[in-house]
Structure formats: C-alpha cells, structure tokens
Symmetry: C2
Subunit: 491 residues, 2 copies
C-alpha cells in the first residue's frame, strides 16, 4: 500500500494528490471545484475545530450563525471590499425549478427571478456588519466578540484539494470595539492564537507578519498573517487577521454612543482559518509512505496490531490488547485494536502508516512470553521494545515526544530554508536553487514588489513582526529599507 503514492522527489504535487486520496482524506466531487471531505480527513478537521474553538472561547469569543447569502447591494457598500470580492462567486438568480413543457426534464422557472441577486458568501463581513448595526448602540454593547463556523464559496478557476477549492469550510471571527487600540490588540491577539495553534497543535512553525498594501484583505486597514513552509520550499499562508479600522462600520453606518456621549463609528476586526490548514498539515510533515499527523490532531493515537497463528494465541493477545486499550482510553487517548482477520499485519502496517497514526504497537505470542512488545513511531519509523507493564505510562511520554519532534524537524527545516539575501542576483539564485523563504530589503513600493513578482514569481509573504529589524537597502532599487521582509514563492 505504501508504494502506491508517487515519491516527493519525483513529483511533489502528484505526491500530495496521491496521499490525499490514499489516506482517505478528501476527493474531488462531480460538482466543479467542490471537494468531498471523507470521514478520516474530516475527523482531523474536527480535531482542528475543537482545538481552535476552545482557544476562541478562552479568549472571550462566542459562536453565532449568519446567512449563507449576501444581497448583491451589500457587497457594494465597502469600496475596496467590492473590488476584491465581487468577482468570481456563485450567484443565485432564481428560486424555483419547474417541469419543462416539452417533457425534457426540469428547468429554471423564468417567472421565479429574484429582484436582487444573492451571492453565496465568499466571506461574511457585509452580512455581519449589517446585523451589528442593529446590535450596537452604546459602548456598553462593546466589545462584540463573535465567531462563525461556516462554508464559503469563491469561484476558483484552478482548484486543488484543501488548498484551493470553490467551496471550503472555515471559521470567521468578526469583532467590534470601542477604540482603535482595542481592535488592533484583538487583531494581534488572534494572530497569536493562530500561531500558537499552528505551532502547538499542527507542529508547524510560522512567521507572523503584516501583509503589504497590495496583498491585504479588501476592506482592511491592515492584514496580518501567519506563513508556513512546505517541504517543497514553497510558502503557504495559514491564517489571516485583519484590522478593519472603521471601514465596515462606516459602510454599514454602525455608530455607538461613547462614554463621552458622542457618536462614533465602531472599530472592527475579522480573522479566519480554513480547511486549507489540512493542506498545510499534510505538506509540512508527511513522507513517501503517507501522512504524518502530530498526536494532538490525530483521530487515532495508537493502533494495536495482533500477530498470531492459533486461536489460542489470538485470545491471549486480545486480552492483553483490550486491557492496554482500556487503560490508555481512560487516560484520554484514542486507541484502535485492529483485529480484522481479513488483512495481514503487513497490510495493516502500511495502512496506518498511510493514515499517519502516531504509534503502532505490535503484539505477538513471543512478546507476551517476554513481557515486552514492539512499539513503532510513525514520524521517525523507529521501533523500540517496551515492557508491557510500562506501556500505559510510557505511551503518553512517547506521544509527547513525537509531537515535539515533528515540530523540531519542521523548525529546523524552516531555519535551513530561510535565507538572508543582499543582492537581487542572490535573491533569484536562492529562489531557483534552494527555494524557501528569502529575507531581503525592499524599498516599500508596490512598483518594486510587482517587478519582483513578475520577474521571480516570489511575493512578499509578510513584513515580519519579529527579527530582521536592521535597516538596509532594497535589493532591486538600492533605496533605503527599514527592515527585511519575507519573500517566497507560495501556494
């Protein structure tokens, strides 16, 4: 089974698609650009949702639900927003089907045309700020800290499972505040929540920074992002947090009576991560044998595979396996005992490697006799013998070690793939030979940014918030630069 996927070195892009298919994560549907998230893939997404949802609630946010449809006129209310989003989207124009008079089947009823077309939400700022207008009158109504888990649709021409699909699942936080400072603090708080989640759950180190003017969210004053690196040296934006200023409050006339009794527009933020994180998770860690899932996101932490010949052996092994399973479950771990008699152990090994189950325990008759079993970790493929009586105390330690070890490996890779560059020639050379992130000086103009993008396909992923703060000269124009910015070719 393990050999059924293309090797990364041979074709990274095909490796990714093969893995997504073979690990049963997702597949393309017959609906153009829309994916089906299969049960195993969805169970990882559920783990992500649970982790994030708790972090949102711990920082004072609550969930709510707003309509799927955005009236066309709403989109037009914020000038930059409409430029960015009123493009490729799904448009509902009619509300009824009928039987064709010629008996050829069902057809759209031309009499059921909507007066105003509805857009399937590409993001919900407009719908939500339209509600906030009714909810906010006074500073006492602030802050409003709301998150929504939802599906959104952006009509993408070229799609790739998880990374870019016409419909995707995400969460979108939308908050309203009394002061600019509070809204800015919220924007950075949520950026940090995302970075913590990426690092501590996904085992993915990320750079935090600010987007340039040309890359920011349409309607935002500032967009912040976290950027990760994939094994092929390309960057992937993993989450964004926007300081909206008073833009949407002004567009939707959301004013509040302040502590001084005066009316002012509310300050806003929005922030989101999506099923794209599934793509990041896969591409950051996995290998030619399949998925590698950090334990904190693994639907199954431990799989136990029995090896036996006789019924008696099977019964003895099963007794021990069930006890180990029970003991570990009581400690909060998810354990599967795979006692299928339709498949051989080798097949099962390959299957769980493909699915990225962090720890595999093999139990055979000799193991029972010696009181020790073979424990294999998925990330390094290392195998070790572990005493039966120590399993329940040692497996949690091992899982913790795997979580850290996956992160450390990803961190080392990112460090290795982050290059300081001081000339445009070196800039291009590094991109073409090594790839990864390039930290270089930039003169701050959109003109230079565009030139670099056109000539090298590298974009400014962000203006980092930490590190690389020394001044210098733009690698293209030689003009002064306040700090290095982070370039990369990106997904």
């Amino acid at each position: 089974m393990g050999k059924e996927i293309t090797a990364r070195a041979q074709d990274y892009s095909q490796w990714y698609l093969d893995l997504v298919k073979k690990a049963d994560l997702a597949e393309n549907s017959d609906v153009r650009g829309c994916m089906v998230i299969k049960p195993y893939g969805f169970s990882i997404w559920e783990k992500m949702q649970q982790g994030l949802d708790k972090m949102f609630k711990d920082t004072g946010h609550v969930n709510a639900y707003f309509p799927l449809f955005v009236p066309k006129s709403f989109l037009a209310k914020e000038a930059s927003h409409v430029e960015g989003f009123a493009k490729e989207c799904a448009i509902v124009t009619h509300y009824r089907l009928k039987n064709a008079e010629d008996g050829s089947g069902i057809m759209v009823d031309p009499d059921a045309k909507l007066e105003e077309e509805l857009i399937v939400r590409p993001t919900s700022e407009t719908v939500i700020w339209n509600s906030y207008k009714k909810w906010i009158q006074s500073y006492r109504d602030l802050p409003l800290l709301i998150n929504q888990w939802a599906n959104v649709v952006r009509w993408e021409m070229r799609t790739r499972l998880f990374l870019r699909t016409t419909e995707f699942l995400w969460q979108e936080g939308h908050t309203a505040h009394e002061t600019a400072k509070e809204a800015k603090d919220e924007t950075l708080q949520m950026l940090n929540v995302y970075a913590d989640f990426a690092e501590n759950f996904m085992a993915l180190p990320v750079y935090k920074g600010k987007k340039t003017e040309s890359e920011k969210f349409p309607g935002a004053v500032d967009t912040y992002c976290i950027e990760g690196i994939m094994q092929d040296g390309k960057a992937l934006q993993c989450g964004t947090s926007h300081f909206l200023g008073q833009n949407f409050a002004k567009a939707f006339d959301v004013q509040f009576a302040g502590r001084d009794g005066k009316l002012d527009h509310v300050w806003g933020t929005s922030w989101g991560v999506s099923t794209r994180l599934m793509g990041a998770l896969i591409m950051a860690h996995s290998d030619d044998d399949g998925l590698i899932v950090p334990p904190r996101l693994a639907p199954i932490h431990v799989v136990i595979v029995p090896i036996f010949k006789t019924d008696e052996e099977y019964e003895q092994i099963t007794k021990v396996a069930n006890q180990v399973k029970k003991d570990l479950q009581e400690k909060g771990y998810s354990v599967k005992y795979d006692n299928r008699n339709t498949h051989k152990p080798g097949f099962k090994f390959a299957e769980y490697e493909m699915r990225g189950v962090p720890v595999r325990i093999t139990i055979g008759p000799r193991d029972l006799a010696s009181g020790a079993v073979e424990v294999a970790r998925r990330d390094t493929k290392e195998k070790a013998s572990m005493k039966l009586e120590e399993l329940v105390s040692q497996i949690p330690v091992l899982l913790e070690d795997i979580q850290k070890s996956i992160y450390q490996k990803a961190l080392a890779f990112r460090e290795q793939m982050t290059t300081h560059v001081d000339s445009y020639d070196d800039f291009k050379k590094v991109l073409d030979t090594k790839g990864g992130f390039v930290l270089a000086h930039w003169d701050g103009t959109t003109e230079t940014e565009t030139k670099i993008k056109d000539e090298t396909k590298a974009t400014i992923r962000c203006i980092p918030l930490e590190g690389s703060m020394e001044k210098g000269k733009c690698v293209v124009t030689g003009k002064p630069s306040e700090q290095r910015v982070l370039f990369a070719r990106a997904y």
Copy 2:
C-alpha cells in the same frame, strides 16, 4: 424585562416571536427568509449538536462533508425525489459579477452563465449517493455510516424563526447497507436515538411512528418520525428517519458484490434533525416570563447574583460566590457570577428568567451571616433556602430534579392533550375546543386523509409504533382500520 413579551394566552404566536427576540436567540436577517442565530441561541444549538453528535458516534457513525451544490441533473435522477425537491430552491446560474458599463454598480456578468445550473442543497441524498457509487464495490465496504452537519436551503414562502426558514442548520445521516433488514434496523435505531434525545436532553416526550404515503419523504420507501406537542396544542414534527430501500442506489447505480459474489443494489437510509428543534424546545416548555431550558441543554446552569450595599459586603460575597462557582465548575457545571454594577438585582433576575437559566443563587450579607442562601429554580419559580456548605452537593441534585420535572410536566400535558375519538363529530369538536393529538381510526386511504385535512386542517402525524393497536372503524368512512393513527393540527 419579563413584562416585555406578550402573554401566551393573549397571542401564542406573538409570545413565541417576542421570546425569541428578548431571550436573544435569533432574529430575521435582511436576507429574505434567512435568520441570524444569535450567540445565546447558538450556544443552546451547540449543546444540542454535542449531545446528538456523541449519540451518532456511539452508534458507529462518522462525520464527513459533501458539496453545498447539487447539479440540476442529479436532482432529476430519482423520480419521486425530483417531484418533492425540484421546486422552491435557490438556483445558482452564474459565477461572476462585473462592473456595469454605465457605472451604475455591479451586475451579473452574462458571459459567466453556468452550463448546468447548480441547486443549493435542499437535502444531500443525490450528491452523497453520487459519491457512494465510487466508494462501494463490495459487501466489505458496507455498512457505510456517515453523518453530515450542514446548512440547507429550501425557498419557503412563509417563514418563522427556527420553525421554518429558507436556510437552516441540520444534520443529515446517510447510510448504506448490505440487506434490507440492516437498513430498516438502522432507520429505527436512529428514530430511537432522536426520541431518546428529545426525551432525555430536550425533556420533550414524543410519539414515534410512520408517516403515511402522502406525508413521506420524496424518494423514501418509509418515513418514520417523532412528533411532539407544543403548549398551544399544535403538533411539531421533530425529526425524521427514512428507509430508502434501493431507490437511491438504483438512481445512482450503486451496486456491490455480495457474499455470494452477485451484484446487487445497496440499501439506504437517511435521517435528520434541524434547528427546528430550537423552536420545539422553546414552545414546549417556556412561559410568560421567558425561556425554560432543561439543564442538559442549558449553556449556563447556575447564575449567582450578589446583593450588597457596601464594598466590604461585595468583597465578602464575591469571595464566597467565586468559591461556589469554582467548586461547581469542577463538577462539570457552567456557572456565571454576574457582578455587573451597571444593573440592579431585579433587572438581572428578569434577564436570567428570560434566558431560562435553570438555577439562580442570590447571595446577600444576611445570607453570609446565616450560612444559607436563596436558591430559585426557573421552571417552577420555587425558592428555597440552601445551606452554603451544601450547595455543591445539592445543586446537581436540584438540576437533575429540574430536568425530570420539566419532562414530567410536558408528559402530563401531552397525556392530557391526547384524546381517543370514535366519531368524526367528536374528532372535529376535540380539534376545535381542546386541540392536541387525536387518536382515531382511519381507513388507510389517501382519499380519506385528504378529506380530513381539507375539512379540519388536521393531518396524520404518524401511524404510531406503540400503543393503540386495537382494531376499529374509520371515523369518516366506517371502513375497517387496523389501529388508531395520530392526528393533529401541526406546525
């Protein structure tokens, strides 16, 4: 605050709308027929989701996600299904907006017309069975036990918050089986899961039964349902579970190689409950002072309100309140200490009554001196004095009692509102004077069913699975009947 809603006796329908608004559960959006589920309402829905999701997983189901859009041709594949669902729905015909050439704003780009229109899913049988065709080859791939949490859209002409909205949230289970028996067992298992959930979480007793031919799900062989009664004597369908036979398997050509090596079509089920349950919850239990939420679905179990004059009193009360809160939280209860100094105790009392918090603890200086506090339960409005040191052991007992008591009250009401009737005159009289469920004999024909519906507005809610099994004569035609069936006017 409590007086701000219409009394049930005065106008039940307005009472409902007032309550939904004042308890901050939901509101109409500016998008026709679509609601906004507000944070407090959503937190109750999250409790419902958690309870149901666990029950689904405990019975072997897994979650997945399928596309929002259904190609028009998919709907047409199952003959009854298309009759039922290819009607009022949201139809996506275009995929791009553009700036109008006359500068009047954005418009639908006529060049971006879809070759085949996409329907926003009214239910997902067609999309899901189209996937199952790829997933099922052999009996080894069965059963397939999948659930999806999703939004769906049905273009409703008259909408009412939670009860009937154009977009609503729901879960839809879709399973595939090797034999008719397995699929039938699954259908009934999920019906029982729904009934358990209604009774044990929502404290709502329900009748379980089968729908008549004219009321069954388009595409099903048999539809089963749970039916509850609201305080105004009208019935509300709370959940449905469908035995699909081989209908969708045949429509989408889903065949499997059986144990005998022969190809056969797969047997299917589907089952769902929606945000409509929120409407049922509200209408079954609440009173003229607001919402009553059974503890198992309450986002906040206990609210503590301090009563004080001096800072010193406030500090002493706060110390005790925080300890009680901490102790109860450690036992798994959700506790809010409302120490806002912007609102008076009376205002807070009314607010938490409106929101249906099951238990309120009031702590004042004299309570601290006497070592006992006032504990008020929301359902009966009874107040009792409880010793401080017994709070942590007694509040859980009280919550359990409230849960049972709300159920018992609803059960007694349902029993009182279920009438056996043996003549059509009595049938009409009971409906007009008392309302509720009427158990009467019916001759089994659609003709009689339609006549009764036209003349009395009562429909057959279900053919009950339990009780009332004695034979008799149809109240309308006098023809023989195998058992009484359940009639009511319904939402």
